[in-house]
Symmetry: C2
Subunit: 536 residues, 2 copies
């Protein structure tokens, strides 16, 4: 679902310097130099931006009070610009959205939901985790004192489930993970030991390889992955080791290699090793909207809610934006004028608005379809996943349409109610779920989830659902760039067009993530500021 690409850039200067240091002073010195050469070796974010010398009285209109718009409003005002923000919703944050008890939400088609979750419980229908290398959004959390807590991505005691494998019985992640790794190690060990890799691996390296496979794959002395305390020290025991004169530990029996391969459950194993899901990974305490809300508090006086933009016009002297106030039954259009405009409206919406920009940018605006996604939040009478099944946080994966069940990464051991993410769906299944009524989505998520957690049936209380193609402010989840579209349109989308620049996750190589919104916003306002100050 990601759209990363683009030619390598020339980074020889920095590398040359490091190489020189390395040659002159050895590895440790080189490493020291690396640490001090930048905010982070791989970072795209060099700390808070410093825009200086904004011409007095210059006005910028920001469209959208999501993460991109809020960041822009905050930084532009700090630079000395006069800023105004128009926002369609009656709240800031956009897709950085948390639904709590008492919240109401009406989707396209008119279905209205009122969330009945108990106090303190929530779901994040949009982004729900922040990787450690999303430096920009993490820095805004730091600057505005938003506390973070670990998001548990991988839980070895959660399940991997296929309706076609193991008679539909969910398998613990630890079983599939240990056994796949063990079987792979055993097979490769077999190939090495029967001299089948002699042509490609030296004898010395074969010895190292065998040693490593034994340690890594929990193989025995004959390089077999077989039931033992060694393999049970990975996958767990049938009866755990105990204390005193309790019954002796019983090692568990690994899943058979051929069945495991055919089960397809291995396809979920790499998720936790993905750069975007690796530990450490975080969530804001209390809901994902907390970072956006913290930035919003800085620029509250600049933001006008309920403003539905209907036209974006520009000429040589400025930008004129027309909007209607959703609270105004007459529907009278209003206009705002500004010297410059940063538009963060999703392309799925912007493509339906009359915008005065060049044909290349217009083409770009129309070139990006939006991915479908659905999330369902379910409240249960008790945290049965912890109490009955010892699953604290993390994700169960299934090939049922609900795709994932995610357990809350907070409130561990709480004796009261709990809210699960009961479905997190992409692609065709997401379209099907979006087509249902909100109530039907919840019912279906409960029905499917109950095949994994029978406790659903007795403990389910209430649910909410968001199908992103029915979300009025985005008409979809995120900009789904193809490689071809990137080549043809990305530059045209991001170049400042007259007095208008675009920003948001759609104008980034980190689609669907808040970091894409932050970086695209910072990049756009830096270029806009440079253009303004070079003219002044």
């Amino acid at each position: 679902m990601r759209g990363r690409e683009g030619p390598p850039k020339d980074s020889m200067t920095r590398r040359d310097l490091l190489s020189m240091v390395g040659k002159a002073a050895g590895g440790a010195a080189m490493y020291h130099a690396m640490s001090t050469l930048g905010f982070a070796a791989e970072s795209t974010y060099a700390g808070p931006i410093q825009l200086q010398g904004a011409p007095k009285g210059t006005t910028v209109l920001v469209l959208g009070a999501g993460v991109a718009g809020l960041v822009a409003a905050y930084e532009l005002r700090r630079a000395g610009y006069r800023v105004k923000v128009l926002e369609y919703n009656k709240r800031a944050g956009g897709r950085a959205w948390t639904i709590r008890g008492g919240d109401e939400y009406t989707e396209l088609g008119g279905f209205k939901q009122r969330c009945e979750f108990d106090k303190g419980l929530y779901i994040n229908p949009g982004p729900w985790r922040i990787p450690y290398h999303h430096y920009g959004i993490l820095d805004y959390a730091r600057r505005f004192n938003v506390p973070l807590e670990p998001f548990v991505q991988v839980n070895y005691n959660a399940y991997l489930h296929s309706k076609h494998a193991y008679g539909g019985k969910p398998q613990r992640y630890r079983h599939v993970q240990s056994d796949y790794q063990g079987h792979v190690a055993e097979l490769l060990g077999k190939a090495v030991n029967s001299h089948q890799l002699d042509a490609s691996v030296t004898k010395e390296d074969q010895d190292k390889l065998l040693e490593s496979l034994r340690a890594w794959g929990a193989l025995d002395k004959e390089y077999r992955y077989a039931a033992s305390s060694a393999t049970s020290d990975r996958r767990g025991y049938d009866v755990d080791p105990g204390g005193g004169l309790m019954p002796a530990a019983v090692p568990s029996q690994p899943l058979k290699g051929d069945e495991l391969l055919r089960s397809g459950l291995w396809k979920y194993l790499a998720d936790g090793s993905e750069y975007e899901y690796q530990s450490a990974i975080f969530q804001p305490v209390g809901g994902m909207d907390q970072i956006a809300q913290a930035i919003y508090r800085q620029v509250k006086d600049l933001v006008q809610f309920h403003a539905k933009v209907t036209k974006i016009d520009q000429n040589n002297s400025g930008v004129t934006v027309t909007y209607v106030d959703a609270n105004d039954a007459t529907g009278v259009p209003h206009t705002v004028k500004a010297d410059w405009c940063l538009c963060t409206i999703p392309l799925s919406i912007l493509s339906e608005i009359d915008v005065t920009v060049s044909q290349p940018m217009l083409d770009a605006i129309h070139a990006v379809p939006y991915e479908a996604s659905v999330k369902v939040g379910l409240q249960f009478k008790r945290r049965f996943w912890e109490q009955d099944e010892q699953i604290y946080g993390g994700i169960t994966y299934t090939d049922l349409p609900i795709a994932k069940i995610s357990y809350p990464s907070t409130g561990y051991g709480h004796p009261g109610k709990g809210v699960l993410l009961g479905a997190y769906i992409w692609g065709p299944n997401a379209y099907e779920f979006t087509a249902m009524t909100p109530q039907a989505r919840v019912q279906e998520a409960v029905r499917q989830g109950a095949t994994i957690h029978p406790q659903y049936l007795e403990t389910f209380e209430t649910g909410v659902s968001v199908g992103w193609h029915r979300v009025p402010f985005t008409n979809g989840c995120f900009g789904l760039w193809t490689e071809q579209a990137r080549r043809d349109h990305y530059q045209n989308l991001c170049r400042i067009d007259g007095r208008i620049a675009l920003a948001g996750e759609h104008a980034s190589f980190i689609p669907a993530w808040q970091e894409g919104a932050v970086l695209s916003s910072l990049d756009a306002i830096q270029r806009m500021h440079a253009r303004i100050t070079s003219r002044a």
Copy 2:
């Protein structure tokens, strides 16, 4: 370092039942039955114990107010026994110990340390994490409302370091993890594709295997693990994908397979997959002593501190324990009598005390040496590991004597000072460190750690160290059972001897863990209670 073993027990009854359910009603019903048959399928802990019918006035003397002793005192009094606890230290918890600013500690040999950490900072010299399947200790945390937070075991952005590899330059965990997995997948793919596994894997399974290796190992269409956005989506980029018109992403170059094998860094990769270190894994908020302290608050009135046991005697009618009060300069011995005694004193201490038990138990008491271990806590002016290197929690592994550096799994992003675990040492290096003065241990940990984190040199402030063989109340870290010792002595150690039973991690198959202390204590007092009530 673990001593798990023992013959499999016959668990046919439960399995037979499940099998019957499965045959009669299919997988889902079987699974449902499994969920409802017990507290947890693999658990050694079935929820709070219920001891009933304690004969009125029966007294039990508990020796030691560590986790085992506290649990016993709490449960025995709840069952109706009259309980007294003697504790050598002036605090409860034993090895479940947290050192904070202002704490003083004098080790064997007379070296006294005063911890100078800032308020809120601490180290846990003993246990520091709780696996999700340590049901007993987790249940005490739950019952006494001790909040838990995730312990970050695996951090993909922490380092793996060998002084002999890569010129001494630390490698990010994500690089070693992705590349080892990728190279293993590539090698096995090569073996499959050159028909070298035709004899042992069917054609259908070979296809599945290749498909799985590509997904799991991030291989390209030719089953190669090579620099690309696919491999960088695991190991990270040289330049991360950005927003707007920022420089294009630059994929990173994988480590070469042969160098990686020779580096030995793969030996640290399996740690996070070990049953005892798998996610979810926890720490109590505020320090590991919080659970023991919470149980202690329940039995505070029963515990006498500063009581150094010098003799444990028993006859047919009761137990007499002699102790001296450390606050009493005269050293006059005192005695306490009780009907029964639960002794949780570590064997390393108990073996030096005059105890009236049978020869087999005496032999067992003397049969278990104690493992050496050292921890060093270091306070720094700032959390440079987060600010400069984006390492939030988790562990850096090194083949330097310090062995590990662990970053705090709490207070992420805090702008102030921070405390690292600067060394966590087992075995021969631990003996060497224990032989140093506390100050020299700290200096050496700083010197070694600075080769990984040069920031040590400018930001180090103060440190504390605990060498467990110099800890007066344990003379070592934990009972290091060999398989032979288990066979010869374990049953004799755990059997109730007259009116005396032993408990603690040393009387369990989960050595060094608090869970071993909890389970051995519960098992011992259940057997003791059964014996008492059967006699009454």
